[in-house]
């Protein structure tokens, strides 16, 4: 632990390039955004916030966004963990399965929305199926503006389909550095499959799980193209509102205010996860 070693191994040297890039490209616009939300022609104001909270869409968008995250993220984590463990079970045709599971990785948000739209639209494949089977006379209006619950369901399905692969890839990378002998040792000691999962695999997966959880939450907060493609503005989400205020209404101040809400939610959840899942790092 000499002085030379300390200098050459200073972590800040390794962190510096990324910090420089981010400050240059994002620090300045970010500061501008924060200021814009509290300023108008004559100095400090809260008018933009009043405008926002008086808007019929905002609270609905907030509710939908939170609902979506609370439902989608856990479902994805469980599903992706299951998928990652399935790869460990070495089923037949694993390579094919694996490749297909990765396909949604490369499907953009809007394309995913379009894909599911062809299924859930009033005259889409799902209603065609229901009608041909005689289960319903004219199909179900899945995306009708009155059916908030079914809209939520459709958006959740589309989001799960679109983004589970990302979590899956992170977890597979994590699973495959877990030495098999751990699991085998636990087996020798007579641990049941369930015990092995909870006592051995999950704890060793924690770093990957934490990353997946943080990233997915933050990215789920950014979701809006899928909902937009499927439901238009009947199922508003926060980032969709930002886009609406900025692009269609050309009111950057209120848009920044919505963006700040997204920011606070993201950072809040990230900080919460970082605290709650302290453990496996830097042993």
């Amino acid at each position: 632990m000499g002085a030379v070693r300390r200098f050459s191994g200073s972590p800040w040297l390794l962190l510096l390039p990324s910090i420089v890039l981010l400050v240059l490209l994002f620090g300045w616009p970010l500061a501008q955004g924060v200021l814009a939300a509290f300023r108008d022609g004559d100095g400090f104001t809260l008018a933009h916030w009043e405008r926002l909270f008086g808007d019929p869409y905002f609270l609905r968008a907030l509710r939908n966004t939170v609902l979506l995250i609370v439902i989608v993220v856990p479902v994805q984590l469980v599903l992706a963990t299951g998928m990652a463990l399935l790869t460990q079970a070495r089923p037949r045709f694993l390579r094919t399965h694996f490749a297909i599971w990765c396909v949604p990785l490369a499907v953009s948000e809007l394309a995913a929305g379009l894909v599911w739209l062809s299924i859930f639209t009033d005259r889409g494949y799902l209603n065609s199926l229901l009608v041909s089977l005689g289960l319903s006379e004219n199909g179900v209006s899945w995306l009708g503006y009155q059916n908030t619950a079914s809209m939520l369901f459709v958006v959740v399905v589309a989001e799960v389909w679109r983004a589970t692969s990302l979590v899956f890839v992170i977890l597979v990378a994590g699973v495959q550095v877990i030495p098999r002998d751990f699991d085998e040792a636990a087996q020798v000691f007579g641990a049941s499959a369930w015990q092995r999962l909870w006592q051995v695999t999950i704890p060793l997966l924690t770093p990957s799980l934490r990353v997946a959880l943080i990233l997915r939450t933050i990215l789920a907060l950014q979701a809006f193209a899928v909902a937009q493609a499927l439901t238009g503005r009947d199922f508003p989400l926060l980032v969709g509102e930002t886009y609406q205020w900025y692009v269609n209404l050309q009111n950057p101040a209120v848009a920044s205010a919505v963006a700040l809400v997204v920011l606070v939610l993201s950072l809040g959840s990230a900080a919460f996860y970082l605290r709650a899942m302290r453990g496996q790092e830097a042993r």
């Binding site: 050459s8 972590p11 616009p29 955004g33 089923p91 297909i100 396909v103 692969s165 495959q176 550095v177």
Partner: protein, 281 residues
Amino acid sequence: MSALPPVDPRPLRRRRRRAALAQTACVLVTVFMALPIVLVGLAAFSSPEALDEFPKSLVPSHFSTATLAAFFGGTGTIPAFGNSMLAGVYTVLASLALGGPAGYALARKAFRGRDAYQVFVLLVRALPIVVLSVPLATLFLRFGVYDTVFSVTLLHTALALPTTVLITASIFVSVPADLEEAAKVFGCGRFEAVRRVVLPLALPGLAASSIFTFVLSWNEVLGAAVITLGHRTLPAQVLAALAEAPQSYRFAGGFALVVPALLFILVMRRYLVNMWGTTLR
């Protein structure tokens, strides 16, 4: 003393049952992942008339490649495809070069300000890109790099850094530090140890993060639409046209955007399988 105990067939049966269960689960997941793609493919190859039928048959009554052909033949689609590819590849290289070292630092060193750094990196990802794109466009215009793949790369690299840093960090954590120490004992320098021991072990994770990054760049549209004009990326070129097109176009476009994804996965598949060699033996 006594006779051999009778063979207990239960573990074997249990094992078989488990294998069958795993097999079924795999097929179910695969169907869920593949079915929508198949359907949108069918919709893309239907003629507009066939799309208007109700109830739709699963296999369209009239095949037609007219919309798809018009779509791919549209002005600028092919160059835009090239731009997306370039931006994706550049972004992967840049974000690994910038984010990899940071991830290593986070994984190997306990230092003050670690959490602060992580939160700072996440801050970027947490702010909707819409709000950042306009000041950025002004910045790029001032520096004369507006409307170039380079500017798109800069933007996407900044967007991808958080994921790169966090994923690489979680991977480097899983590479046992004692291996590195052992390498040093055997006379490797610090960089030598990282290059010969840590990197090979961490490659799968780095590949995962690269895929992640490439896909992010491939699909990012809001920012790319504002900072480019005559050198658009594929999503920026196509999505604006899609949003207002007739239904048949939308499905063709949706499919056209998925096709590169399929090709990408096919091309990457062998590579992926090599990467996850231990998993996919």
